[in-house]
Each structure stands twice: as C-alpha cells, then as structure tokens.
C-alpha cells in the first residue's frame, strides 16, 4: 500500500507495474484498476496514453464504447482496465465481460484504498466487497493499494482486513505551497458578500466547495449575477457536462467551479490557484483531501475556510442519515423473512413504508456485512443462511467517530496554532511542523475577512429572490390502479400540473426562516411572505396567466393555508375559490416514505366542487412541498373537474442533499 499525497505520482507506479507485468507475461493479460470516480479515470487514461500504455475504462456513462472495449479486451490488446467498484459489483458486467477477461488479470490495483476502511472518511460498501475479494486472492497475483489520505487508524484497519503481508510505503503529506486562512461569517448572506468582494483577488482558477447541491446552485447564481464566470458542479449534472466543466477549469477558462464533493478524488489540475469552502466540511481528512488539489505545481495557492451558522445543522443531518435507522433494517429483514420467493426492490417498496433511497441504504449496509444476511440472485434479494444481528456497536462507534471529526473541524476553525500543523497532526503525519505562511503563522489575514454592508444587503435580497422550480410529476408510482383517473402509467399531459415555483428552501437564509416561524410558532404566514410571492409571480410570469386561486385543504390546520391563499389572491387581484375539499383524514405525507405509499395515502382523500369560472388557468397554493404528490393529485382532480392549466405555488421546498 502506497500512502502518498495527491500529485506525488502514484499512478506512474501502477502504470509501469502494469506494463512490466504484461511484458513478462508475453504481452498477454491485463491489470485491473478499481477506482471510485469517473473524473479520476478520464485524467488517468490520458496520462497513461502519454506514457504509451493502453488503458481503457468501462463505466455506466460510456456505454457507447463498451462494444469496442470488450472487443479489445477479448483480443488481449489492453494493458490496464479501469472500472468503478460499482461496476465490479454489477452482476451483468461481471457475467458478460469481467468473467471473460478475469482469467488473465495479472495485478489488481485499488485506488483510494482508504475507502476499504470503516474509519475512512468516505467508506463505500462496495469497497468491503473488494477487501473480501483481495482476501481470497492467491499469492501469485500482486495487489497494489494506493491512497493520499489515511491516518494511522485507517492504515491499521486496512492491514487487518487485507492481512499481515501488506507492505506500507508512506510519505509526507504537507504541501508547501498552501497558504491557509479561516474566516467565520455566520450568515450565508455575509459569505456570499465575501465571495463577491474577494473572488477577484484570488489567484488563477479554483474551486468553491459547498456542502449541498442546492447551495452549489445558489452560490453560482449569486456570483454570476455579480459578473463572475463560475459554474455549478455536482452529482445531478449529466456526465458530458461535468466533463466539459472539468476541462474548462483545467484550462483556466472559468474563475471557479462551485462544487460539492462530486468534484472529487484525483481531479488533477497542477495549477489550481485556490480552494474556498463556503461551508465547513465534516472532517479533517475530507477537508485536507479537497484543499490538497490546489497548488501542486505552484509556489503559492490560497485556501480559505469560511464557517457559517448552518454548518453543523447540515453535517448533523449527514451524520444522522449516514446509516439507516435500525427500524428500517429490521423492516426489510422482516419483509424478506415473510417472502419465500425473496423480494425485488419494487416489491420491497410495497411491503415496507420506506423510500427507494432508504431501501437502497439498508441493502447497501446489509450487503457490506461480512458475511452478509442477504444475497442477490437476478433482481431479487433472498436471505442468506448466515446468523445476523444488526451491528449496533459498529454503527455507534462510527457515529461517535463522525462526531469527533466534526468537533476537530470546529477546533480547526478556531485554531490559534499553525493551521497546517494542526491538519498534519490530525492526519498522523510524522513530518508535521509549522508552515510559516498561514494566516496564524504570519499573524495577519492573507485575504481580508471584511464584507461591506451594501453587498450583504444585496445578498439578502438575492436570497429572497431565489425561488425554486417545482417540476410536475409525470408518472404514477405503481402499476396498481388508483381510483384517480385509473391512475397507472403516465399521467396524461392534459391532467398534469404545469411547472410551479417554491419561494424558498425550507429553513434557508432568505425566506426560509420566516416560513418556518409561520408554520410552527405563529400558525400564521405573514404579509411579508404574501409580498414575496407576489414579486415571485411577477418574475415568473406563468403563461397562460392564471385567473383564480385555490389551495390545498387540510383537516388538521383548516385555516393556515386557506387564509394565506386568500390574502395572496387579494394581492394578486384574483378571486379565491377554495373548491378543493378534504373528505378523509390522511396521515401526514411526510410520514409516507415512498411514492407508492404517498399516493395511496392521498387516493380518495380530496374532492373538487366545480364552479362556473373554473375553466380558466389557476394557481394551486400550498405551504411546504416535499414529494410533490399532493399537488400532483389535486392538479389531476382539478383538471378532471374542468379547470384550466394548474400552476402550483409553495412557500418552501424541503431538500437537504449532498453529492
């Protein structure tokens, strides 16, 4: 195992090893490189080519190349095949391709090997499988594991998993060119203002990291309105676009990418001039890996960590949801115990009230166990004949570790000693020493922490105009018919809602706090929010222009939303017609965890009483949107009762997602 900082040249080690092994073997056979991220692979393949090594990759985003690559594989023309751990675990890929070439694998290379360890900062269940495969390998197949970030605990854990025969080569981690500074600016508006004021002073092109996708989008839009050439980068973007954005950054054609962790491991730009964190990451290992992308070939690169008031809330959410709650795991296992034929994921959705994501999380956790209580055959999961109880202790230990890491980052934010020294110590670097160039060492800020009030006000204003589109649902969730328009398959376009708008993200720094207060403290949404929506409608200008307003009824809070909708209608100068009625109490939608249960919870719960003016387009108002099924179902009922186009409006949309 090779532990060397990013940019040290680990890939050259395995390129040469792969080439030599193949030459020794009469130019037959290949090495298999397992690596978690596609962005990494693109760079590596280019580098291999420059070294005269034929490397290829097969992954979910290059299906058009598969046939060609497969042909080359079978023709034994490839030195090095790069695949993701997920590909390796994919049954179809394994059966069709890998089994064909697997007899000729001369060496296995596991990149980002810290993922093998539970203690690593981004443990991936698929890596557990890799560790098991490595344990089963005979000794005539060499294995090379590489990582840039592994503290002692992680290294020891990997040694335990892979066996005592593991040799560890470890180098120093510090990068001399990095100039570190931390700036605490509690509100998002202040941090937006800081970016607008100082982005220009940062050298070259760089990366601005955010914790969530929504933040990456917002920060980008703000900076764009301020005239900066920046783009968002996160897991929701299509691969070709991500590739294009990486290229732009590589060639200094943008000032910065505003990115989540998706712009990750192995992205290699030697002259990256700066890294700014808009929010504080969850661990030192994470943080160091992200800032380690800067200044590889430069004398100086600027690293700023902005800390804010929402950091801990977001990190806490990630920690809380990292492992599925025990009840979810038990529900899945119970459902499997009751199913002699096993269950597909779709069948699980019906049997247990869990979202697809929650089910996936449970399945990933269970498959990562050694041995695993479940096994997949085709598309079905069945119980394996192994004893199993949920490893509560492991989960508690890991959660405690995540908390400790979070605390360490909080301390780092406040550190009174050399910032680089702090990071190196936290990473067990034996070569740790004061850097002499961070803001603490020189006793002065490197970049001014000041923001001017005018820009802060503009940022608040911006946040208050950051409405979120509400995409209409197009498909019913199940084959089983609902009573609503024999609901199955596609929702006919004539019955679908139009694209709507939410005023803000739940709890954000613009309107979010006001909506939260209205819902939980006052039981009343203020006139300020009415004005906010009126402005939003002006910017939005939906066509055909809605001529009346109605709202989502509730038996639990009969006045909250109708009262708000009435005031909104008044301000818009439109009639308010509460023609949607709730005829049956439902459980709160937020307790319904997947589409199947969400829609069934609503089926038959509403009635629309038609009125003479209803053929005109309408605004359908609700307060907080989560899955969007309530708006979808009511839109269908309105259209069936003869209404015109239905434009949903919500006060807030609930989202909190990294990646």
């Amino acid at each position: 195992m090779l532990v060397q900082r990013t940019g040290w040249g680990k890939s050259i080690v395995y390129f040469i090893a792969a080439r030599l092994l193949r030459e020794q073997n009469g130019n037959k056979g290949l090495s298999l490189l397992i690596s978690p991220l596609l962005s990494l692979m693109r760079n590596q393949i280019e580098m291999a080519e420059r070294m005269g090594i034929h490397a290829e990759t097969i992954h979910s985003a290059n299906t058009e190349r598969w046939d060609a690559v497969e042909k080359q594989l079978l023709g034994d023309e490839i030195d090095l095949l790069l695949i993701s751990p997920e590909r390796l675990a994919n049954a179809d890929f394994y059966g069709r391709v890998l089994q064909q070439v697997a007899p000729r694998i001369l060496m296995l290379i596991v990149d980002e090997a810290h993922c093998i360890s539970d203690w690593g900062h981004d443990f991936r269940p698929d890596y557990r499988r890799i560790a098991r495969v490595l344990r089963l390998l005979p000794r005539n197949i060499p294995v090379l594991a590489t990582t840039a970030t592994a503290n002692n605990r992680v290294v020891e854990d990997i040694r335990q998993q892979l066996g005592e025969e593991l040799h560890i080569h470890r180098g120093a981690l510090a990068r001399r060119s990095l100039r570190l500074q931390n700036i605490l600016l509690p509100s998002q508006a202040e941090r937006l203002a800081w970016l607008a004021a100082h982005l220009d002073t940062l050298p070259g092109s760089g990366i601005i990291y955010t914790l969530t996708v929504a933040d990456a989008e917002r920060v980008t839009r703000w900076l764009q309105t301020k005239g900066f050439d920046v783009h968002p980068y996160h897991a929701d973007l299509e691969n070709p676009l991500r590739e294009e954005l990486e290229q732009k950054l590589l060639h200094n054609q943008v000032k910065a990418l505003v990115a989540t962790v998706a712009l990750g491991m192995g992205f290699d730009k030697p002259d990256l001039g700066f890294v700014v964190h808009f929010q504080r990451p969850g661990s030192v290992v994470h943080y160091y890996q992200q800032i380690g992308r800067a200044g590889r070939s430069l004398d100086s690169a600027i690293i700023v960590l902005l800390g804010g008031e929402e950091d801990d809330e977001v990190i806490n959410y990630f920690i809380r949801t990292a492992f599925p709650p025990q009840a979810h795991t038990e529900a899945i296992l119970r459902a499997l115990r009751q199913s002699p034929e096993g269950l597909s994921i779709v069948e699980m959705e019906r049997k247990v009230n869990l979202s697809r994501q929650q089910i996936d999380k449970v399945l990933r956790l269970l498959s990562s166990e050694t041995p695993s209580p479940i096994v997949q055959t085709g598309s079905r999961f069945v119980l394996a004949p192994v004893p199993y109880s949920i490893d509560v202790e492991r989960i508690q230990k890991l959660t405690a570790l995540r908390r400790a890491e979070q605390e360490q980052m909080q301390q780092y934010m406040q550190s009174a000693e050399c910032l680089m020294l702090f990071l190196q110590r936290a990473l067990d670097d034996p070569h740790a020493e004061p850097c002499g160039k961070c803001a603490v060492c020189i006793g002065n800020p490197i970049v001014s922490p000041m923001v001017d009030e005018q820009t802060v006000r503009e940022a608040v204003h911006f946040l208050r105009r950051s409405e979120i589109p509400l995409e209409p649902r197009k498909m019913w969730p199940s084959r089983e018919g609902l009573s609503i328009c024999r609901g199955q398959g596609t929702i006919p376009e004539s019955l679908r809602a139009e694209e709507g708008r939410a005023l803000c993200l739940w709890g954000d720094a613009g309107w979010g706090a006001l909506v939260k207060r209205g819902k939980y403290n006052h039981g009343f949404y203020s006139d300020e929010l009415v004005e906010g929506i009126v402005d939003m409608v002006k910017r939005w200008n939906p066509q055909p222009v809605p001529q009346w307003v109605t709202c989502v009824p509730s038996l639990r809070h009969p006045h909250l939303v109708p009262d708000f909708a009435r005031r909104l209608a008044e301000s818009l100068g439109l009639p308010f017609v509460p023609c949607v009625h709730k005829v049956r109490e439902t459980r709160p939608q937020k307790e319904m965890q997947n589409s199947f249960h969400q829609v069934h919870n609503l089926d038959g719960a509403f009635e629309v009483h038609s009125w003479e003016g209803m053929a005109k387009p309408v605004f359908l108002v609700d307060d907080v949107v989560d899955s969007g099924w309530t708006l979808t179902v009511i839109a269908v009922l309105l259209r069936q009762a003869g209404s015109g186009a239905v434009f949903p409006i919500a006060l807030a949309k609930q989202v909190l997602r990294g990646g």
Binding site: P103, L108, N140, V386
Partner: protein, 323 residues
C-alpha cells in the same frame, strides 16, 4: 470467509468450475495425476503459486500428459476465482479441499482417488463426520413410500442418528424434512443448485441452527446432469454408516445405478425396503447383495441394523458348515 489454505487455493484454481471457463479445469483424474507426479518429484502443491513455475510445468508435461500452457492459464485465474467465490462465500458458503479439517476423512478412506477434490457447502460441516443413515430412492414414488421414508427419518431423529440424503425431490426430500422436522440432523448431498437450495425458505432455519449441512462436489450454481448425480451418490454412500433404498427401478435410473455401484465397491452396507408397499424391483437388489430392511424393528435403529449386518457376515462365514 477467511483466506483458503494454500493447497485448497491451488485445487480451486485448477479444478473449480465457475460456469464460464475458457480453459477447461482439470478433471478429477487429471488432478490426481498432477498431484501424484508432484509428490513423486518432492514438490509441495503450494509450489504451483511460485512466480517461476513454468519450467516445472514443462517438465511435467510428458509424465502427466497435461500441457504446461493449460496449467499455467488455470493457475493464473486467481482474480476470476476470487471474484466468483466472494459472492457465495459472503452468503455463508465454505469450500473444503483434501487437507482441510472440514473435509471428512471417510471420503478419502472409502473413495480414495475418487474423493472429490473440492467440497462446497453451507451449514455445519461437522455433520459430515458423524456417520448416519443414507435414505435414498427415486424422485417419483408412491405417497406410501414417501411416508415410510419420512417415518424412518423421524425415528432416526428421535434417536439422534443423522440422516444422509441426496437432496433431490421425492424420497430424498421426504427423508431430509422427516429428520429436520423431528429436530434431528441431516446432511444433504446435492448434485446441482447448491446456492439456490441453500437460500431456500424452508431450509434456512435448519442451516442456521446447525442441524443441516448442504454439501456438493459441484459448484454452487451448476445444473443437473446424470454424471453429477452419480458423483453425488458416491458421496451419499461414502458418508453414511448404513444405507437404505426405499424404492428403485431395476436396471434404470440413478437410484439403481448408485446402489449397484455401492454394492460393488462395498462403501457401506445396504438395506432395501421389501413388503407390500415396496416395488418388486427392490428385490433385484437383494440378489446383488443388499439386505432386506426389517418390517418391524424395536429399539435403537442404528444398533439393530448394525447387529443385522454383523450377524449376516457371521452367518455367511458359518453358512457352509451349517449346510
């Protein structure tokens, strides 16, 4: 599952079928030949994992008749074998080679060169070394005979005597469930589909409670062939202390062939059901040396049957004098 011991690892590389094997894995006899030659030369099997093995393989080409290229290719498929093995081993499957503690010595003693190179199994491997009564019979049998099989298995269970079954439909399954449902232990020796059967709903609890061991000399997803069935039968007889044929068809089918092979090799003393429910063809086994299963039997089944076996042997020797 932990790393295999080296000799088992080598056996897996050379002999395991994965369902997709561009190079033909070694047959039983080829493997025996190779191991014999290495032993004569004084090379341990583990040597085959050394880096410079090709010259040794070339040296062995003539005496073993095994091309060095083929052996080399098989020895190099470690990644494929590991990837393939991981899935089922993580679902609880174990693999035992000749030198593993899980491998029952009785297979070496009785089957010698035909002792399977690899055993794939789920559940408690200790059960393989506890003897037991093999209860065999064809897939399609009358309800009455299935009931007999179940009853006898029940009785074995009550008397803490293990049942060995072929794990197929019909008599095999009746015997297996007869033992398990009565709280007894059972070894199911499978000719095919080990993985599917081991994850089946009915058997999971018994595997978990260590009452059942499912074992096969064939890879966990192999399909059924007549050849596999015969290989399986050998193991059923070899693992058992005594065997009982519930029903067979004279000159036809696996039960007949297996019973006949057992009698020829004297792997284990053989009883056969006789009486009104039993098919007339069963009687043909008596002519080949099987004993009639007593219609009424009191007390401990194992001891009674063993004493019958002993007295018959004594009787055979004494026979000419009496006449």
């Amino acid at each position: 599952m932990d790393a295999l011991q080296t000799s088992t690892q080598v056996a897996t590389l050379l002999c395991a079928h994965t369902g997709n094997d561009p190079i033909q894995p070694l047959t039983q006899s080829e493997y025996v030949r190779l191991v014999g030659w290495l032993k004569d030369k004084g090379y341990p099997l583990e040597e085959l994992l050394s880096p410079d093995i090709y010259l040794l393989l070339l040296e062995g080409e003539e005496p073993t008749g095994l091309p060095a290229e083929r052996l080399k290719a098989l020895l190099e498929r470690g990644a494929q074998i590991a990837l393939w093995m991981e899935k089922w081993s993580n679902a609880g499957m174990w693999i035992a080679g000749w030198e593993d503690a899980e491998y029952p010595p009785v297979l070496h003693e009785k089957l010698r060169k035909q002792a399977p190179v690899l055993l794939y199994g789920f559940g408690n491997p200790d059960l393989l070394q506890q003897g037991g009564l093999a209860i065999v019979g064809s897939r399609h049998t009358s309800e009455n005979l299935l009931e007999s099989a179940r009853r006898i298995a029940n009785r074995c269970a009550q008397q803490s005597w293990a049942v060995i079954s072929g794990g197929a439909k019909g008599v095999d399954r009746a015997a297996m469930l007869g033992a398990l449902e009565e709280g007894g232990t059972c070894v199911g020796v499978l000719a095919a589909d080990l993985a599917r059967i081991a994850t089946s709903y009915t058997l999971r609890e018994y595997l978990l409670s260590d009452k059942l061991c499912l074992v096969s000399p064939y890879h966990p997803q192999s399909g059924f062939t007549a050849g596999n069935a015969m290989g399986r039968n050998k193991m059923v007889y070899a693992l058992a202390e005594l065997a009982l044929v519930i029903a067979c068809e004279k000159g036809k089918g696996g039960t007949w062939a297996g019973a006949k092979e057992n009698l020829q090799h004297r792997w284990t003393p053989l009883f056969v059901m006789v009486g009104e429910d039993a098919p007339e063809d069963n009687l043909a086994l008596l002519e080949l040396g099987a004993r009639a299963f007593p219609t009424h039997i009191e007390g401990l089944l194992r001891e009674q049957l063993l004493s019958l076996v002993h007295s018959a042997q004594v009787g055979q020797i004494a026979l000419p004098i009496e006449v």
